[in-house]
Symmetry: C2
């Protein structure tokens, strides 16, 4: 991997990398923040998955996570939201194709050649950064909107790979939303039985999470109806899933919302990454 | 003034306004952050002046000031960096014309018709926001790069209007720099005796500041030679100006530098805006 930008930030280092991804069969860009503590040895990592239209850059410049990561001694990893470049399929709509990978492995043409963000984030990029950077094996994951969907689906399907999971205004129930049905159909085909593994509400109902979960959702989110937070909250309550589902009054879907609660989420992950899971068994 | 965007942020409100400026004879855009404490009555205000190529938006989304402003109960005001729009003179270079107003009143054609950022910030915008928003009379001022130049020159010429002043990597000595000579010549004419009022180093030598001054400068700033921090530091030392001139090791000119020290600056202004000046007399 090649460093293409590097800036000092809160005593640590914010770096943007580019590398040739085998999984996505194209050049991929991502960003990593290493806190000052990483100079003394490996640190835990918090993955942040971004939303529709975003790249690695949005949260890196607008999320305000670095200050809190430096305070707690946690690295931040900001992947891109899709494969990109010439030869990578795209769509005119903002919510399909480049910038809208939905953190899954597409099985349908024209997407299946490059759109493999699930394997990319979970396997290839994780192996790459863990091999090259001072990260230990304790990883948490969070994200915003489509990235909140990604964080929840990746974690709920892989509790052995993540010690902690949270989300900001996640697309909570894509199989029942216009932010999901079009994309799941395009990427995975019309057989809806293949969609459940990519729907946080379904996964929460079927798998649950062995620890606790933190979800923040703005009350004035302009995309509230598309996100369907009520579906996820309902399942979490019915399954008595450990965790906090917080409605934040007056907040919308923007990074002003994300940055306001960035500190809460980093502190919350830090507590779980440095300590033991607060809830060792799968809740019923 | 008309509100064109509003977001909840750290319990307060981040708003973008547009208004018809008489001083600049064009529509101007600016942003204001009101902390939660403003709901209970007027609060002090910290002005943030941005650098070359910026608008009201850069620091608003990348500076990370809101969190600290909410903690201390201070409003933030983010003006634009120049007049804009059709009919407003411009130049092909990024460092002259729109986005590069240098916080002065131009006296030469084609700039003199609209480029009056000194009077705009100091008089018109201040009167506007103080009349319309819950701000008290205690104002501080800071800024980055060209905005650091603006903060220092406005404050040093108007110690009755600001209780506190700081700067991030200011253009410290424009009359001796390629970031300054071209612009001062274009806006004010070639008679260099008219430039001294727009050069922080000259003003610091002649006027000083009745309180203390905080300057942060990154050691790895890619524009170090254009900023000429050594000229300002030299004068501050020789005149025994109260304050701190800090070289921050490893930091560059980006908002990763600004955001890292945003908390220090807001806390520093808060101490002076809520209390008394730490140094009541003009230093010799």
């Amino acid at each position: 991997m090649e460093s293409i930008a590097r800036n000092r930030s809160f005593g640590g280092t914010q770096t943007v990398y580019r590398h040739a991804s085998k999984v996505c069969d194209t050049q991929m860009t991502f960003a990593v923040y290493l806190p000052p503590q990483a100079e003394d040895g490996p640190v835990p990592a918090l993955w942040y998955l971004s939303g529709l239209t975003c790249t690695h850059e949005n949260a890196m410049v607008k999320g305000g996570f670095q200050e809190h990561a430096a305070e707690h001694g946690i690295a931040l990893i900001f992947p891109d939201t899709s494969p990109r470049g010439e030869g990578v399929a795209d769509d005119e709509a903002y919510d399909l194709g480049q910038g809208a990978g939905f953190y899954l492995n597409a099985t349908r043409a024209p997407w299946s050649g490059h759109y493999r963000m699930y394997d990319y984030v979970l396997e290839e990029l994780r192996d790459l950064v863990c091999g090259a950077l001072p990260l230990n094996g304790d990883h948490g994951i969070t994200g915003h909107s489509m990235g909140g969907h990604g964080a929840l689906t990746l974690a709920l399907r892989n509790p052995d790979k993540f010690r902690s999971v949270s989300a900001f205004a996640p697309i909570a129930n894509p199989s029942q939303s216009d932010w999901g049905r079009k994309q799941l159909s395009a990427y995975l085909g019309d057989d809806e039985s293949n969609w459940a593994d990519h729907d946080a509400t379904s996964l929460m109902r079927e798998n649950g999470w062995p620890g606790d979960v933190l979800i923040d959702q703005g009350s004035d989110d302009q995309f509230f109806d598309l996100l369907r937070p009520q579906a996820l909250a309902d399942v979490m309550t019915r399954t008595r899933q450990a965790g906090s589902f917080r409605i934040q009054p007056g907040y919308d879907h923007s990074y002003f919302f994300v940055s306001t609660f960035a500190g809460d989420h980093v502190a919350w992950h830090a507590q779980r990454l440095f300590g033991r899971r607060s809830n060792g068994g799968k809740p019923q």
